[in-house]
């Protein structure tokens, strides 16, 4: 067992973990952060995507011990003060999800993608999401959601009202 201390969704946590424990297992099994899910065992699907120090990682590809001393943000920590993150809002607005299983990963990847490239083209969005699989939406509305989030970045909730 190895002791790790990290910040997850703004909360300081300390645990003893097996060195082989994956970050995604740590989040789900130790912290009950079940918003982050496991969709495959070959790091292809991206459903487990979280942010490590602000950059997206597949949390099945990171050991919990590697997160020691770092800051992790999951889908559960994205909304602040009850206000949805603009990317969350965009996915709902554009029907960018159906069963919702890939959605936490898609949203976390999108946030990172837009941080790197705030005004992507459709082709750039599609390439940027290549590591995240979805079986329901055919990606059409996911791509639309990302472009919508980019277009409406910086707007307040009030400015977007009336959309629903």
């Amino acid at each position: 067992m190895t002791q790790i201390s990290l910040t997850v969704d703004g909360t300081q946590v300390t645990d003893d973990v097996e060195p082989r424990m994956l970050l995604v297992q740590y989040l789900r099994e130790k912290l009950g952060k079940t918003g982050t899910v496991i969709g495959c065992d070959t790091s292809n699907c991206g459903a487990c995507t979280v942010h490590l120090d602000g950059r997206s990682v597949k949390s099945c590809n990171v050991l919990a011990v590697q997160a020691d001393g770092h800051e992790v943000t999951t889908i559960e920590g994205l909304a602040t003060d009850g206000e949805l993150h603009p990317v969350q809002e965009a996915f709902r607005e554009c029907h960018g999800l159906q069963c919702g299983f890939c959605t936490p990963g898609m949203i976390m990847q999108t946030v990172d993608l837009l941080a790197e490239n705030p005004h992507p083209t459709e082709a750039e969005v599609r390439l940027g999401l290549e590591g995240n699989l979805c079986r329901c939406t055919g990606y059409h509305n996911i791509v639309k959601s990302v472009l919508y989030a980019a277009e409406h970045a910086g707007e307040t909730q009030g400015e977007k009202a009336g959309a629903r």
């Binding site: 097996e18 424990m21 297992q25 789900r28 099994e29 009950g32 952060k33 079940t34 918003g35 982050t36 899910v37 496991i38 969709g39 495959c40 065992d41 070959t42 292809n44 699907c45 459903a47 999951t74 889908i75 559960e76 994205l78 909304a79 949805l84 969350q88 996915f91 709902r92 607005e93 029907h95 999800l97 159906q98 069963c99 919702g100 299983f101 890939c102 959605t103 936490p104 949203i107 459709e122 969005v125 599609r126 390439l127 999401l129 290549e130 590591g131 995240n132 699989l133 979805c134 079986r135 329901c136 939406t137 055919g138 990606y139 059409h140 509305n141 996911i142 791509v143 639309k144 629903r164």
Partner: protein
């Protein structure tokens, strides 16, 4: 004088049906507040890991479990022999014929394994990791048996998948229009066409696919309460409960099945699985809550696959392209067992090979065949994609033979809009449709003529990148299904759906449905229907589902049935609420019940400004201080709706593919879908269903295939090898709709869940073939990989050839002396 009347009506909500409501489901899903089965943790819960056979066919000589049993924190290790009949069996609910050969399907056989991935032992431990570690220590000695793998060879009984069955041929199911009196004699029609018309003969391969829902299957069983509770990532909680009771001896009244949040299914979670049955048995044995969650690799290996057919097709026509007969001979691969619907899947297509056309003679036969591969069952479309592919490919071949535009040949043969209702050669009565309208709109959206002109220009110029246009004018039967029809087909259940509507004292509405959503958006669409029907706010309607203690009756979600069947049950239950409330409203209004009418949520007295909202009536009924003599103080109601017919969505899909003739690479340039799904409840949800369906169908055409090697190992057994499309592989689509409402349900809905998948596969392949037909290509086997396309163009193989066992070679077989592990450290 009426200007001030009906004040309550002024606050009635605007119509909900047709409105693009954002989904109620999403708030939880986008913030990670989810209830996937794998999220469930119960006090004292233990975990399971499976030991699976690496061999396709083998006798189990010995299983040594002692090392695993003594591993850290292991609670127990069990084999099939430890349980016997207590395990129950996996059921086949649709025996095609009385003579069907149906091998006994134990969830964990003790004597012989029949496919690679079959479970032979299970380890129970305090954590999932410890269970998996210990599973590695279970030592199983197998005696390998020859395996029946290739479908055509298996049909010849050269090697038996189940030696004691004596044959691999499970059932032969035939429909003949001459014998059933729905049409002419197809043999005569084809013979005549051989003499003075056109005969097209083709054989198409429907490759094996994997549903690959994003949420791996998971099951939790809690045996500690008075009722045994199973949570499962399933599409069919109600059917599961019935099957558990029927096969494990636990009374149905002692079983509660819950489908919590379910992450996709596409037919893949329409199953009673070995994993569920083993978890059930283990939980009862260890008397603790038990969880099993499969890995993705286990899912690809052992969750049921889809499609896998050979289609032998003969189409007769006159010289001008009027079809005179269509004969279909199928070989369908069941895999190792006859699954819950199993052989019924190709039969669901039996009524659809004639599609939208007025074929005068038709014959369908399907031979189902057992092999030593993973079992097959429903995958999005289930039988209808196969049928649509076959007929839409054949119509293109006929057009090429006649030398006319493929749209022209379709128009010559399709049912005209004024001919509805139309009884087809397969004996179904299509209630409504307008193929002309959908096609006209699709052509306009597509820019059909301009793309044809560009195609010609590129062809004339000898452009290395050729353009092809693919057409699919599809229909499907959905809304499964009239119970009597299912009975006549020997299906083991009915096709009704149940709903109940409960008016709460505070005016909120609880709706219970027997449909079981897993991503479609039932909560939103059903709320819209009930809000309109009862005249209550959308937000005030709560849809409850997926828990057999809440939703006690239901037949779950598959076959695009939730809206057409389940939605109609909702409508009828809501209407009964209004009828029950009416005498109470009349009583409160001191009016004769015949003078009371209901509109937009308010009961009012004709010709007056007197009114009571349905919420007022609900509260008064709850208080029950003042209601008529002789009735119960209750306005809740339920309905069990048995559909009178299937529904028949249709549409015209047009696809433009660019094919690089030098490399075989294909690129989708444009895809247009104009679907007629009847009345649309929520256009946002409908468009989402179409988009997702399209990509699954396109993926069959271009990418996906479950491939076994010659020893029966699934070589596409992970997401590295099974090619699920990504955002970077796909394009944005142009979709729209025409509307001819169904005449067999109140709302006029037709179902949309499977439409995109059914329509798109032939549209894509037709486009690719169209791009290179002038180079001598008349077919390319799916998936149309660049290699196949290149081979079809450049070699004598006109179809690009079969998929080799090593579709994704993991090492170079030519380098002798090199194995997959040697040299790793070099």
């Amino acid at each position: 004088m009426t200007a001030t009347t009906e004040a309550p009506a002024a606050t009635a909500p605007a119509p909900e049906i047709g409105r693009d409501r954002r989904r109620k489901e999403d708030q939880r899903l986008i913030t990670g507040r989810t209830r996937w089965t794998d999220n469930i943790t119960l006090p004292g819960m233990v975990h399971m890991a499976m030991v699976r056979s690496p061999f396709a066919h083998a006798e189990i000589a010995r299983i040594e479990t002692s090392a695993a049993a003594s591993a850290p924190n292991v609670i127990g290790v069990f084999t099939g022999a430890d349980f016997g009949d207590e395990l129950g069996v996996c059921i086949n609910a649709w025996p095609l014929t009385p003579e069907q050969v149906t091998p006994n399907h134990s969830p964990m056989p003790a004597d012989r394994v029949s496919f690679a991935g079959e479970i032979v032992a299970v380890v129970v431990a305090r954590t999932a990791a410890e269970a998996r570690d210990a599973a590695e220590l279970v030592d199983v000695e197998y005696v390998e048996l020859p395996a029946a793998l290739d479908l055509k060879e298996a049909a010849e009984d050269t090697v038996l998948a189940h030696p004691d069955a004596g044959t691999n041929k499970s059932a032969l199911w035939v429909f003949d229009s001459a014998e059933s009196g729905t049409g002419g004699n197809v043999e005569e029609a084809i013979e005549k066409a051989r003499t003075d018309g056109i005969v097209i003969e083709r054989e198409y391969r429907q490759q094996r696919l994997i549903p690959a829902f994003m949420e791996p299957r998971s099951v939790v069983v809690d045996p500690t309460g008075e009722q045994l509770t199973m949570w499962s990532a399933t599409q069919i909680p109600h059917i599961l409960r019935f099957a558990l009771a029927a096969t494990t001896g636990v009374p149905e009244s002692k079983i509660r099945v819950i489908a919590p949040d379910v992450g996709g299914g596409f037919g893949g979670k329409l199953q009673a699985t070995p994993e569920e049955w083993i978890t059930w048995a283990v939980a009862r044995r260890v008397n603790k809550p038990v969880k099993y969650t499969e890995t993705r690799s286990e899912s690809l290996l052992s969750a049921h696959h889809g499609r896998d057919q050979w289609q032998k097709l003969t189409l007769g026509a006159t010289q001008d392209g009027t079809v005179t007969g269509f004969k279909v001979d199928l070989l369908a691969d069941l895999g190792a067992y006859v699954a819950i619907v199993g052989g019924g899947v190709p039969v669901l297509g039996a009524f659809m090979f004639n599609a939208i056309y007025k074929f005068p003679a038709y014959r369908f036969s399907c031979q189902t065949v057992l092999t030593n591969k993973a079992w097959t069952d429903a995958y999005r479309g289930a039988g209808r994609p196969e049928a649509t592919y076959a007929v839409e490919r054949m119509m293109d071949e006929l057009a090429a033979e006649v030398g006319v535009d493929p749209l022209e040949i379709r128009e010559k043969n399709w049912i005209k809009h004024e001919e509805f209702p139309f009884t087809t050669v397969a004996g179904l009565t299509y209630d409504s449709g307008n193929y002309e309208a959908a096609t006209a709109k699709a052509k306009e959206m597509f820019g059909y003529d301009a793309l044809r002109a560009e195609q010609k220009k590129r062809r004339d110029a000898g452009d290395p990148v050729q353009l092809g246009i693919g057409i699919s004018t599809f229909t499907e039967m959905c809304g499964l299904a009239p119970s009597r029809v299912l009975g006549s087909l020997d299906y083991g259940a009915g096709g009704w759906e149940h709903a109940s509507v409960r008016m709460l004292a505070t005016g909120k509405v609880e709706v219970v449905t027997g449909a079981s959503p897993h991503g479609q958006g039932h909560e939103t669409a059903f709320s819209q229907i009930v809000a309109d029907r009862l005249g209550v706010p959308f937000e005030d309607v709560e849809i409850l589902h997926g828990d057999t203690q809440v939703s006690h009756k239901g037949l779950d979600t598959y076959g695009s049935r939730s809206l057409t069947v389940g939605g109609e049950a909702l409508v009828r239950a809501a209407d009964k609420v209004i009828e029950r409330a009416k005498p109470i409203a009349a009583h409160l209004l001191e009016a004769n019940v015949d003078d009371v009418e209901f509109s937009a949520g308010t009961f009012s007295v004709k010709g007056t400004d007197q009114g009571k909202t349905i919420q007022d009536v609900a509260l008064a009924t709850f208080a029950a201080h003042d209601y008529p003599e002789g009735i119960e103080p209750n306005i809740d109601a339920e309905s069990t709706y048995d559909p009178v017919n299937f529904s028949f969505p249709h549409g015209t899909h047009l696809c433009a593919m660019e094919v690089d003739t030098e490399t075989g690479r294909t690129t989708m340039r444009k895809y247009v879908a104009c679907d007629d799904v009847g009345t649309i409840i929520n256009p946002l949800i409908v468009s989402g269903q179409v988009h997702g369906g399209l990509v699954q169908g396109i993926a069959q055409a271009l990418w996906e295939e479950a491939v076994y090697d010659d020893s029966g190992t699934l070589v596409s057994g992970s997401f590295v090898d099974y090619l699920l499309p990504t955002a970077a592989d796909t394009i944005s689509f142009d979709i729209d709709h025409t509307t001819s409402p169904s005449t067999t349900n109140s709302l006029g809905t037709k179902g949309v869940g499977e439409a995109g998948t059914i329509a798109s596969t032939p549209a894509v392949v037709n486009a690719i073939v169209d791009a290179v037909r002038h180079l001598g290509v008349s077919d390319i086997t799916m998936p149309c990989t660049p290699e196949r396309v290149w081979k079809a163009i450049n070699t004598s193989s006109s179809t690009g050839g079969p998929t080799e066992g090593a579709a994704m070679p993991h090492f170079d077989a030519d380098e002798s002396g090199t194995s997959s592990t040697e040299g790793a450290g070099a």
